[in-house]
Symmetry: C2
């Protein structure tokens, strides 16, 4: 029997898939094995380093529970999540030739803090009461040809004025809600101006980032998820233009088109008619959704 040498093992693993019936799975596993082995050969990985890797992956899996997903955090901080988002957006853009109009709004990472089933509130509701600096979020949702999308579901969530999410504090839901656009595709709600914050650093991924010499911070952002019938779901953020860490987001999620001015206003009547007795911010953003494929 031919003896496998260092450069042969990857192909030997791939050859073992002769009876794999899922062509796509076979393609993905082939590339995965090829790159994993090439990585090992390239750095001439030692048994001690291999064991450190085994222990890191095990600890990462064991850190996960109902409210903590350390593998997503790993993926986020190594740019893997954002690359997945960017690949999906690039695939979507290829299908757009049939749809004249502008490019759809850019997507970014969902992150680990989405919590399905947030309260369904009327447009204009304030979900930031009792937290941070009040901000009116408003704008319009259209398709890529500019047609308004009525009844588009808009899920929004953010951390508090210290950058902590309800899930992290072990609280019930706060600073999150679901809205629906009106007949003209408009939305508006009040929340807070989000602040920068660190990703959770008390697990294996935090130790890895520390060893990489990296900070843990994300620039301030409001999460938005849009679902309109007949259109692709959009998961994105609105980033605060003057936030620190815009140029070094720990999860590489910033897209230039998502960075938004948050002008500050003195007390008085806000654009939605609300009488404000203290200063507030506004953030205007219009979304463009792409029609569903097929």
């Amino acid at each position: 029997m031919a003896q496998l040498e260092v450069s042969d093992f990857a192909q030997a693993v791939i050859d073992r898939m002769g009876e794999c019936r899922d062509e796509r799975f076979k393609q993905v596993m082939t590339a995965l094995v090829k790159h994993a082995h090439a990585f090992m050969r390239e750095v001439d990985l030692t048994p001690e380093e291999w064991m450190a890797g085994i222990q890191f992956l095990t600890a990462t899996g064991q850190k996960c529970d109902e409210r903590r997903q350390e593998f997503i955090l790993l993926s986020d901080t190594l740019g893997i999540s954002m690359l997945t988002v960017a690949l999906a957006q690039a695939r979507g853009a290829k299908g757009l030739d049939a749809h004249p109009g502008e490019m759809p709004t850019e997507a970014t990472v969902q992150g680990p803090f989405f919590w399905p089933g947030a309260p369904k509130l009327d447009l204009g509701a304030d979900i930031g009461e009792g937290y941070g600096e009040p901000t009116l979020y408003h704008g319009r949702v259209t398709d890529t040809s500019g047609q308004p999308l009525a009844g588009c579901e808009l899920d929004v969530w953010s951390g508090d004025e210290g950058g902590l999410y309800d899930m992290q504090k072990g609280d019930s839901m706060s600073l999150r809600a679901q809205f629906q656009t009106d007949q003209d595709g408009n939305y508006r709600f009040w929340s807070i101006k989000p602040t920068f914050y660190p990703v959770p650093g008390d697990g294996p991924v935090g130790a890895m980032l520390d060893k990489m010499g990296r900070h843990l911070n994300r620039p301030g952002h409001m999460h938005m998820m849009l679902n309109a019938p007949g259109h692709e779901k959009l998961v994105t953020h609105i980033f605060v233009k003057d936030s620190p860490y815009l140029d070094s987001d720990a999860v590489f999620g910033v897209r230039n088109s998502l960075v938004v001015d948050f002008p500050k206003h003195g007390p008085g009547k806000a654009p939605d008619g609300r009488a404000m007795s203290k200063p507030y911010y506004t953030a205007k953003y219009d979304f463009r959704l792409v029609p569903s494929a097929g």
Copy 2:
């Protein structure tokens, strides 16, 4: 700010390590990120596939406990463990020019069933009593120039006649022991002729192998770990020459030089003087250890 495109994310992650003070860690992480991103781009991984990967890794971590290491099983079945062994052996061979003589005995995977602290027994002891087909293991341990190594510690372990290890059965220790070579470097002990067996298939890795269209089996083998003062530790197996699956070991661990004849003998006096009332096998293997580096 320049916008990151699909092909830019890997370098952006790597550039974030400007303050990493561990040059080797930086080198390993750079290659890891480069290959992980190249893999993703090559297969144009979808968000659904990414999520399947997150869930697989999480389940693999959560399957691990004191007696089960599912990430090592993953590494084993993707050829990663054996590549680590082969890389270490190749590095060791580079240092051998100063040591005239024969090549050292080939290493193979340790596997998940080593249990430190096995009973220390006298040469010639039988650890297979009550299990399977009796086999006399014997041979000599030398260095690569042929000098016998006295007092070399020899850890041996195997599954039972059904291929199950004590750990898998939840039993106390069985079919494992530690011996020491005598003044002339010789060893001998009785155990059983090992049979082929499947790696554990009830976890995420089993599901992966099933989807890859692969069987779970390893050919019959006796685990051996050798420790001699002033020499590199050797972790290896002796494989049974007539075993099924020698050409398709689920963990890619077979080395030609480790495949050994197990001749069968009728009842009578065995080579070590033991009177056998039933048929038995013998397996002779001489080990060569490489001097420690430095």
